[in-house]
């Protein structure tokens, strides 16, 4: 054990990299250990077929915290986010619903479907904007422990209470509704156009094992408005070079601050002496020691795989055991020789530069969930499609295209388990469904890559293939993420910290967990 580091970060996913960058920026000697040949975790761009690059798992960026972009000066390290300006939902009757970058145009489009909804749209937008404002401070705070009698916790809880009360009655009630209702019920209070409600609520189910009628899905509706609020980019964005470029930019920033990043360096376990983490043992037998060890892996691997169970309190172990993952989404990456033409908008148009949402009706999305509930992949899944090569031509050879299809639901716990035949059947269901909205797609497919939750787990290590490192359900958020009493990035093992999306606030390419963890570590005087 030659070099003593101040901190070891296990896992070079975007949160791990953010933690490393912040620690290095504070003058700490940091090393990141990544098992794969490249950093990024689930945010990687790879050339899967010659000339065709794909962001293999994740696909859009919307929530990357602006303070991180600023603090780490990410644009200087190559981060360039291109706006994804529209969402078009093809309908089963050949019509469509479109939301464009231009607000007035969207309103006119909505008017075509329902004058009443076009009226409500502005007011809805205003409310969501205020709600996003109300929630924003929470994303940037370390959750207080409601069970503790520590004056700091009590004070933080009091302050939180004051914050909510300061919102005023109307917004407070709306917030309670957003936190507890299903997105379908919440939208029912505002709109009547089914396809509008379906498309909006589809964003509420991404990464969850819930349907649009399941309570607890409404608050995700806020996410769209968060990105807008921060003024970094409008709504959803697409990183030039794919989401892998986001990881690369953060890694480059970390290196710039002096952090060391080692790929092909899988960690086997965390070394603990006398209840204190002292370093890690790599799979090749090497040991690396450090004052502090930080895990960017999900809670299951952070605690049940990297540690011996006896090093943790029994109650905590059972809390982590029942932490829910249940990956529910898959990804289909297609290499195309031409863009598909959609029945509702024939030919090639600006809609190819935005997202295509396969969510023609609430019942459609809900049925997709029903299949998954009973252990099958959706026969007609909800899909969010983008054509990265339309926004960033470097992603495909000239004249050719890449099509990224985020698919839900593909349950990790499939009846009979996933195998090659099931994976292909799932891929066929996806392609056949899109074909029904865009006849001729199949004839343009040069290559097809199908990724199931089992594949996500195998390749990235994410337990049960959950892209958020654990379900974003109310009982797994804030001071309950990942377990009550351990939501402050510390763990029952001294000098061992967690910084992945399995901690508050978790999920999405946000980096907030990584940043808060780094601040907690620095605050502890590491």
């Amino acid at each position: 054990m030659a070099v003593l580091y101040d901190a070891i970060v296990i896992g070079g996913g975007h949160n791990g990299l953010v933690t490393a960058a912040y620690l290095a920026r504070a003058g700490k000697k940091v090393v990141v250990l990544e098992k794969r040949p490249r950093v990024g975790g689930a945010a990687v761009t790879e050339e899967i077929f010659p000339g065709f690059k794909f962001t293999m798992f994740s696909y859009v960026v919307s929530l990357l915290r602006p303070e991180i972009i600023r603090d780490l000066d990410l644009p200087r390290h190559g981060l360039h986010i291109l706006p994804l300006e529209s969402t078009v939902t093809p309908m089963e009757n050949g019509d469509y619903l479109a939301a464009w970058g231009d607000h007035d145009e969207t309103r006119r489009e909505l008017y075509r479907h329902s004058p009443r909804d076009a009226e409500a749209y502005d007011e809805y937008g205003r409310l969501m904007h205020h709600m996003a404002h109300a929630v924003r401070p929470i994303l940037g705070m370390v959750p207080p422990d409601p069970t503790s009698f520590d004056p700091r916790d009590l004070l933080a809880l009091l302050r939180l209470g004051r914050h909510f009360r300061s919102l005023g009655a109307e917004r407070l009630h709306a917030l309670v509704k957003l936190m507890t209702m299903s997105s379908a019920d919440f939208l029912d209070e505002w709109f009547e156009t089914d396809v509008l409600k379906a498309t909006k609520s589809a964003s509420g189910i991404i990464g969850t094992f819930l349907g649009p009628r399941s309570p607890g899905t409404a608050y995700v509706l806020l996410h769209h408005y968060m990105g807008e609020l921060d003024g970094v980019f409008r709504a959803w964005g697409f990183a030039k070079g794919g989401t892998g470029a986001v990881s690369e930019a953060i890694a480059s920033a970390a290196r710039g601050f002096g952090a060391e990043i080692r790929c092909d360096a899988p960690v086997a376990r965390v070394l603990v002496k006398g209840g204190r983490a002292t370093g890690v043992a790599l799979e090749n037998g090497d040991e690396v020691s450090a004052k502090v060890v930080v895990s960017g892996l999900d809670p299951r691997r952070t605690f049940l795989q990297l540690l011996e169970e006896r090093e943790l309190p029994a109650e905590f172990v059972s809390d982590i055991r029942r932490f829910k993952f249940r990956g529910s989404s898959g990804k289909v990456n297609l290499a195309l020789d031409a863009l598909p033409s959609f029945t509702c908008m024939p030919g090639v148009g600006r809609h190819h530069r935005g997202a295509i949402s396969i969510s023609p009706s609430l019942a459609y999305v809900e049925r997709a969930y029903d299949d998954a509930k009973y252990g099958e992949f959706s026969r007609r899944p909800y899909m969010d499609i983008v054509f990265p090569s339309m926004i960033d031509p470097g992603m495909a050879p000239p004249g050719k295209h890449v099509m990224s299809v985020f698919v839900q639901y593909a349950p990790y716990h499939l009846n009979g388990g996933w195998n090659d035949a099931k994976r292909e059947a799932f891929g066929d269901a996806v392609v056949n469904t899109i074909e029904s909205f865009a006849p001729g797609l199949k004839s343009h497919i040069l290559h097809r890559q199908v990724i199931t939750p089992a594949d996500i787990e195998r390749i990235t290590g994410l337990s049960e293939g959950n892209i958020f490192q654990g379900e974003l359900a109310l009982h797994q958020l804030f001071f309950l993420r990942p377990a009550a009493g351990w939501a402050k990035f510390r763990t029952p093992v001294r000098a061992y910290y967690q910084c992945g999306a399995g901690t508050h606030p978790g999920g999405g390419i946000m980096g907030a967990s990584g940043r808060l963890a780094a601040l907690a570590i620095l605050g502890d005087g590491a």
């Binding site: 009655a169 309670v176 399941s214 607890g216 109310l474 009982h475």
Partner: protein, 454 residues
Amino acid sequence: MNAAGRWDAIVIGADVNGLVAAHYLARAGRRVLVVDSRKAAEQRADVGWVPPQVIRELSLASHGIQIEQPDPWIVAPLAGGGRLELWRDVAKSAQSIRRISPADGARWPEFCTRMRRLAGVLEALYVQPAPDIESREIGELLRLGALGLHVRRLGKQTVIDLLRILPMSIAELLDDWFENDTLKGVLGAAGVWHLRQGPRAGGTAFNFLHHHVGSPAGVFRPPRSSITQILTAMPGVEMRWGAEGAVVAAAGTATGVRSGSEALSAPLVVSSADPRTTFEPLRPQLDAEFVHAVGNIKSRSIVARGTVNLERPADFKTLCLAPSLDHLERAHDDAKYGRTSERPYVEAVATDGHLDLHVQYAVTIDQALVERVASALGVPAGQVRLEPQAGHLYHGELTLDQILFMRPVPGWSRYRTPIHGLYLCGPGTHPGGGIAGAAGRNAARVILRESKRS
């Protein structure tokens, strides 16, 4: 108060909460008239906890109130023949569960203790108006503080359980604890009672605890009582059956009720009717926001009630036909798309000579449903009678967005309404249906306190 009028207060609805409110007002010296559109009192038992405060303060014990919780409190057929019986005695139930799953039997006592503690927190919350989290009044803040302290004193585990379990789905909660389908079906059914949701929906764990309120540890069906019958017969208030009651108000102040062509006047009107029905005649006097909020109350009827005439006595007291969580979920799937369940969840309570039925999820009540229920129970269809649905029994589903300070509509959880002199006291208000008399008592206390002030 209007000394010239015959009544100081008119209560709309002679159901349990209306009667409780009426008797609390009468006890405080008010002359009270209760109007009810039904021809006469029903002879149906009340399902739900009767708070001990109500029993004590209205001397219901001396009037002979009966509260019944059968033993075993539930019987469920087992897939391989035989049946699961759960008893008031936790150890006896554990033994009976051990026969189908040793692991589940071993966990039963701990589960019962933990759930009982949470139900206790709800009980404390239910016998007072919902905490007003917007209030800046020092008294209310102290009450909030006291409530917080009360919960924290129950220990760290209870605080965590409360925060974690209330928003959960009953399926997740039960999957954390148990493995046996029959057991989870019996318990899960209580989580979806009167909800248009399946056991995998968040908030159904709360609904489960709501219906555990008032029961001893290990009993997960609410008690049945004769409280409405007792109150109907109790002197002190004037009763008028077969009399509709529509609130009449002038310039934002209630002046009485209209009953058919007759105008009954009183300076105070208390309605235990559905909030939507109550406010319907008042729409022109209400602001649009409020009307919109009332219109948004989710109260989708989903339960069919009915009876089965028995030729010979049943060999059970309460029979639950919900063989698994998946069974409940699939029954709900049908309802989600607007259809009545192909295989509904049926629960039958034996009373003298017949069975009282709870059938869920029922969207339309027709002969097909009667036949499904009959075949589930193994009785001839001719013996099954289902009542037409008359609105949501709880006047609003008990989902997380419709409880506490959000019930009946956000900002109006204190039984008061925008119409001066009009109060609500029905199950549409805090703490909601399935609790016999708490809303009526809370409302009456608010009314008496406020009238003292003015």
